[in-house]
């Protein structure tokens, strides 16, 4: 046994005080994933009512192509791609974080009422606020709704601390309440607001502007840095309270911090795109199954797969039903439903 240990080469990245364990084969898989992401991104830039070749796309991006192409790419297609990547990535990481924290693979940001909360606030805004203030405030209203629901879930679940089970049960209750508000406004609110509310509720990256992206990026940048700093704590939190505490983690404080991070990330994403249901559920699953299970690797992979999912959904919506442009949310939901059923069948077989 000792001999086997000796033969094994030491793998480490060490520079002075800095040290990390390289992810090993997962790194290669991650690289393939990023490659795939780039291919789909380029394809997304090519596709549309007016197809462009990859070479034309490249020329347009570098400012050497036709002016009309550059306009289409820079004003219409590129913002969609970037928004899909950012929002999908944020939802993927938020989903992974929540699944880790509540130790349940079926958890997603919607569990804490992020999606329903954002939706209720957005629909209220569209029905009663749009005439009063600029429609540019819609994302702000949505993120406020998401955060409010997150805080409400946490506060209601508190009983000298928050257990994952109480969190899940309270989350279901608060999400139902938020959905009830949404339905009420759709039924009773002004008729002209209903259609735009429905479009928002489906979730899409249609009509993305660089202003949206700048705002989302400004939100996500500090959250991403915080995530990178806290990744090792999240991995420990995933072991459960007693083990985490035994390893020296301040369990309640860390849970509150990580939950805030997840809600803020998902809320920011959803505020710009509308609820892209299931992204936060599917991306972490695929990431763990295809790329790797250790938290750091899974976090990068969840971000990439989340971005990829939304991008593919948006691309499908544009191409499959051209010249009509269907919201990405429809495809994410359809994909998610199929995936969810498959997940349950798998779990059932394992239980047998």
């Amino acid at each position: 046994m000792a001999g086997a240990d000796m033969i094994r080469p030491s793998r480490a990245w060490r520079f002075g005080a800095f040290s990390r364990r390289p992810p090993g084969p997962a790194l290669g898989r991650l690289a393939v994933l990023i490659g795939l992401l780039l291919v789909v991104a380029v394809l997304s830039l090519c596709a549309g009512q007016h197809w462009l070749s990859p070479a034309e796309v490249l020329r347009a991006l570098t400012g050497q192509g036709r002016e009309s192409d550059a306009l289409v790419i820079n004003l219409l297609r590129l913002p969609r791609v970037v928004l899909a990547l950012l929002a999908g990535g944020a939802l993927g990481v938020a989903g992974l974080l929540l699944q880790t924290l509540v130790r349940n693979p079926l958890a997603s940001p919607d569990l804490l009422g992020v999606g329903p909360g954002a939706a209720a606030a957005a629909v209220l805004f569209l029905a009663y606020g749009a005439g009063v203030v600029s429609p540019g405030w819609l994302p702000v209203a949505a993120i406020a709704g998401a955060l409010a629901c997150g805080v409400a879930v946490y506060a209601l679940a508190w009983k000298g601390g928050v257990t994952p089970l109480r969190l899940v049960l309270t989350g279901v209750a608060v999400a139902s309440l938020a959905s009830a508000v949404t339905t009420f406004v759709l039924v009773r609110g002004p008729a002209n607001a209903t259609l735009s509310a429905y479009v928002w509720l489906t979730g899409s990256v249609f009509g993305a502007t660089w202003t949206d992206i700048a705002r989302l990026a400004a939100w996500l940048a500090p959250l991403g840095i915080a995530m990178a700093l806290l990744a090792r704590h999240a991995a420990i939190a995933g072991l459960g309270d007693e083990l985490a505490q035994g390893l020296g983690q301040r369990v309640e404080a860390m849970r509150a911090l990580l939950l805030t991070l997840a809600v803020a990330m998902a809320g920011a994403a959803v505020s710009c795109t509308g609820p892209l249901a299931f992204t936060g559920l599917i991306a972490p699953h695929l990431a763990r199954r295809l790329i790797g299970h250790s938290f750091g690797v899974a976090a990068w992979a969840s971000a990439a797969i989340g971005g990829l999912l939304v991008m593919v959904a948006d691309l499908s919506g544009r191409v499959l039903f051209a010249p009509r442009d269907l919201p990405a949310g429809i495809f994410v939901a359809a994909l998610g439903a199929a995936f969810f059923v498959q997940l349950m069948i798998r779990a059932r077989h394992r239980a047998d």
Binding site: A12, R21, T100, R232, G240, G248, R288
Partner: protein, 271 residues
């Protein structure tokens, strides 16, 4: 073998669990460098006592002393470097490999910059080696057998590199052969690595075989504490488990062996 002077003690310890008083004023000093086993019937407070020593439960009254100082006054990381705790029936996140799990044991020694130092690597390799898991390091924990899985958890707490190890029923759900395997491993960690071990065991006879120091509890109070050969007798078993028995010497180890009488079934008259 070095005897680590890491005394764990409690004074006048009162603990509630879900607002029900469980422990009623316990005074204990656990011998350093030895194996201490808590025994008692279900609900006697032995797990609560272990959790109090691990600071998983805060006392109502009284104090737990770690290295002579009130454990409540020490930082979480400080406590984690002094003692490791393996709770009952821990479950690993799905798909996590043995190596990734054991690596998490290094948490109290790491910071953002230093997450895989030479010391981390050496400790993890040693933990895998000592638990016989070197060859299984890349296997997901959830694909291991019960005994291997328990060894993986022990390896994780071993990588934590704390002089005191607390284990809550480390043999639960294991068949007899695997129970012995895990207890032999714990015994070896005590003799070869000088770990102070404190654990809860259900099986009185295995407790008597492996413990240097036995603490018998009933209704949240200590009935007896000392070497098994000195404290474990017919009276003790009657008081702790409310069970009639005969105590004979274990034919292999000479430690006390409890042979219980049934409540209904009696031995044939000839014996």
């Amino acid at each position: 073998m070095t005897v680590t002077p890491a005394p764990l003690a409690c004074q006048n310890l009162h603990v509630r669990y879900d607002s029900v008083p469980v422990l009623h004023g316990l005074d204990l000093t656990l011998p350093p460098g030895r194996i201490t086993v808590f025994v008692g019937s279900n609900g006697c407070g032995k797990s609560t006592l272990l959790k109090s020593f691990a600071r998983l439960l805060a006392p109502d009254q009284g104090t737990v002393l770690l290295n002579g100082r009130d454990i409540a006054q020490q930082s979480s990381a400080q406590v984690a470097r002094a003692l490791s705790m393996l709770p009952q029936s821990a479950t690993a996140p799905e798909g996590l490999t043995v190596h990734d799990l054991v690596r998490l044991g290094r948490y109290p020694h790491q910071n953002w910059l230093r997450q895989w130092s030479r010391e981390d690597e050496a400790q993890v390799d040693a933990a895998l080696h000592d638990t016989g898991l070197s060859a299984l390091r890349d296997r997901p924990v959830d694909t291991l057998s019960g005994g291997q899985r328990q060894r993986a958890w022990i390896a994780m707490t071993l990588a934590q590199d704390a002089p005191v190890m607390l284990l809550d029923e480390p043999t639960t759900y294991l068949d007899l052969a695997h129970q012995i395997e895990v207890l032999d491993l714990i015994d070896r960690l005590n003799t070869e690595r000088g770990k102070t071990v404190v654990m809860v065991l259900h099986d009185l006879n295995l407790a008597a075989r492996y413990a240097h120091h036995m603490v018998a509890l009933r209704d949240g109070a200590v009935v007896a504490a000392g070497a098994p050969a000195e404290v474990m007798d017919v009276t003790l078993v009657k008081r702790v488990f409310d069970l009639d028995c005969q105590i004979i010497a274990d034919p292999l180890f000479g430690t006390p062996l409890c042979v219980p009488f049934g409540k209904g079934r009696r031995p044939p008259a000839s014996s």
